[in-house]
């Protein structure tokens, strides 16, 4: 690693100030960032650790909305009972030690194309709350490792509307355990949302044809006539674009069946 300073603010305001230094980088749990730094793929002048910001910790429920602080670890989300599909997703990120450090804000800020949380946020129509504004999930994800966050902007919380039914199905890449393809299906009173991670060169995306079909008939058979184009799907040594496109439909069907 190149060397850097570490700052540990106690409030969102202090964190925002600390981030104003050139090449400052927010540090959530570091479960992706620290390995990245080890490979010298990043060289920040300063890491601003968000772990000590009390306002960014914890989970609260307000009516039908679950608000999760940006610095909340995966293990805490996994233990929360009011949105079971989200808890189940969190319970299968990485391994137990990783889940004790990694944070939801860190995962969403990084927007790894094979990460799990982006699928939950997009399928739930979540709101990404930052130190300056609120961003709808539909506007937030802008491609592989790319988001609507401005320089120095910090995810302070994420608000999830709790659906009537939901499920996440992850087909794991057997070595890394990241999603080779992961599909999150969420059914709300005004329709069904389907978000896919791991598959596309553009990062997480909504499969809108499936959403229309499932909103009319929430059953795996509603997908029968649909197909997913392999255009712009990821091809790597773990699977071809065609294989991933096929998996999108299979995993969507499994998620619908499990959620029904």
């Amino acid at each position: 690693m190149y060397n850097f300073d570490v700052e540990k603010p106690g409030t969102i305001a202090e964190a925002a100030t600390a981030m104003r230094v050139e090449d400052a980088q927010a540090l959530g749990g570091g479960q992706t960032l620290i390995p990245t730094l080890k490979q010298r793929l990043a060289g920040p002048s300063k890491l601003v650790s968000l772990k000590g910001v009390a306002e960014m910790q914890g989970i609260s429920k307000d009516g039908n909305t679950l608000r999760i602080g940006g610095a909340t670890i995966h293990a805490a989300v996994a233990a929360e009972g009011s949105y079971s599909a989200l808890a189940a997703l969190a319970a299968h990120i990485g391994d137990p030690a990783v889940r004790n450090r990694g944070t939801i804000g860190g995962s969403l800020a990084n927007n790894d194309p094979a990460a799990c949380y982006p699928a939950a946020a997009l399928a739930s129509g979540a709101t990404i709350v930052t130190n300056t504004r609120e961003i709808a999930a539909d506007d937030y994800f802008q491609g592989m490792f790319d988001t609507a966050l401005d320089e120095g902007e910090i995810i302070t919380a994420v608000s999830f509307p709790i659906p009537q039914a939901a499920n996440y199905q992850k087909f794991v890449q057997p070595a890394s355990r990241f999603a080779l393809v992961g599909v999150f299906v969420a059914k709300y009173t005004d329709g069904v949302r389907v978000a896919v991670t791991g598959a596309s060169n553009e990062g997480v995306f909504r499969w809108t044809e499936a959403e229309t079909a499932l909103s009319a008939n929430f059953s795996a058979t509603a997908l029968d006539g649909l197909s997913v184009s392999p255009d712009n799907m990821i091809t790597d040594l773990h699977g071809s674009a065609t294989y991933r496109a096929h998996l999108v439909k299979v995993m969507t069907g499994r998620a619908v069946t499990a959620a029904s």
């Binding site: 570091g30 620290i34 890491l47 030690a97 004790n100 450090r101």
Partner: protein, 161 residues
């Protein structure tokens, strides 16, 4: 350099670290606690697992500066007060839960974290919990058996496949 102070195995320790100093490096090189192993250095193998404020973390993927003020427990603090092996360590010896021994400190620390939360895990739960601990000798069966035995469960039916 920044001064960090933390409680390691019940004793207050401090040292000067760079921003980039890993907790694993601080424990091994600054404190001489070389029981915490660095295997893969990429957050995958779990040989570096320690407990920070009571929960298992990979100390090669946490900065020493992040552990400032924390309570850290390592393999060196696991034995009983009289120096004898604790119940998990003894079970690893009794059930041949180690071959080369390199992964063992992380296995024991992960097992301790599991049994704290789930005192009577099923064999499947033990295997799932060890997802982030890799044994390069592939000696998993006896590791799982040792952890089941340490939880006080009968392991005679678990085959040493």
């Amino acid at each position: 350099m920044t001064k960090v102070t933390m409680t390691v195995n019940g004793k207050s320790v401090s040292g000067d670290v760079e921003g980039r100093t890993l907790l694993a490096s601080f424990l091994r090189e600054d404190q001489g606690l070389t029981g915490t192993h660095i295997g893969c250095d990429t957050s995958q193998c779990g040989a570096c697992v320690v407990h920070v404020d009571g929960v298992a973390v990979k100390s090669c993927t946490m900065l020493a500066a992040e552990a400032d003020g924390a309570s850290v427990d390592t393999i060196e603090g696991q034995a009983n007060a009289d120096g004898s092996l604790n119940v998990i360590q003894q079970a690893f010896q009794d059930h041949h839960g180690l071959q080369c021994g390199f992964c063992t400190p992380g296995m024991v620390m992960s097992a301790a974290a599991l049994l704290k939360d789930n005192p009577k895990p099923t064999e499947q739960e033990v295997r799932e919990y060890l997802e982030g601990n890799i044994c390069r000798c592939t000696g998993y069966h006896n590791i799982v058996k040792a952890i089941m035995a340490a939880s006080g469960q009968d392991v005679t039916a678990i085959a040493a496949e």
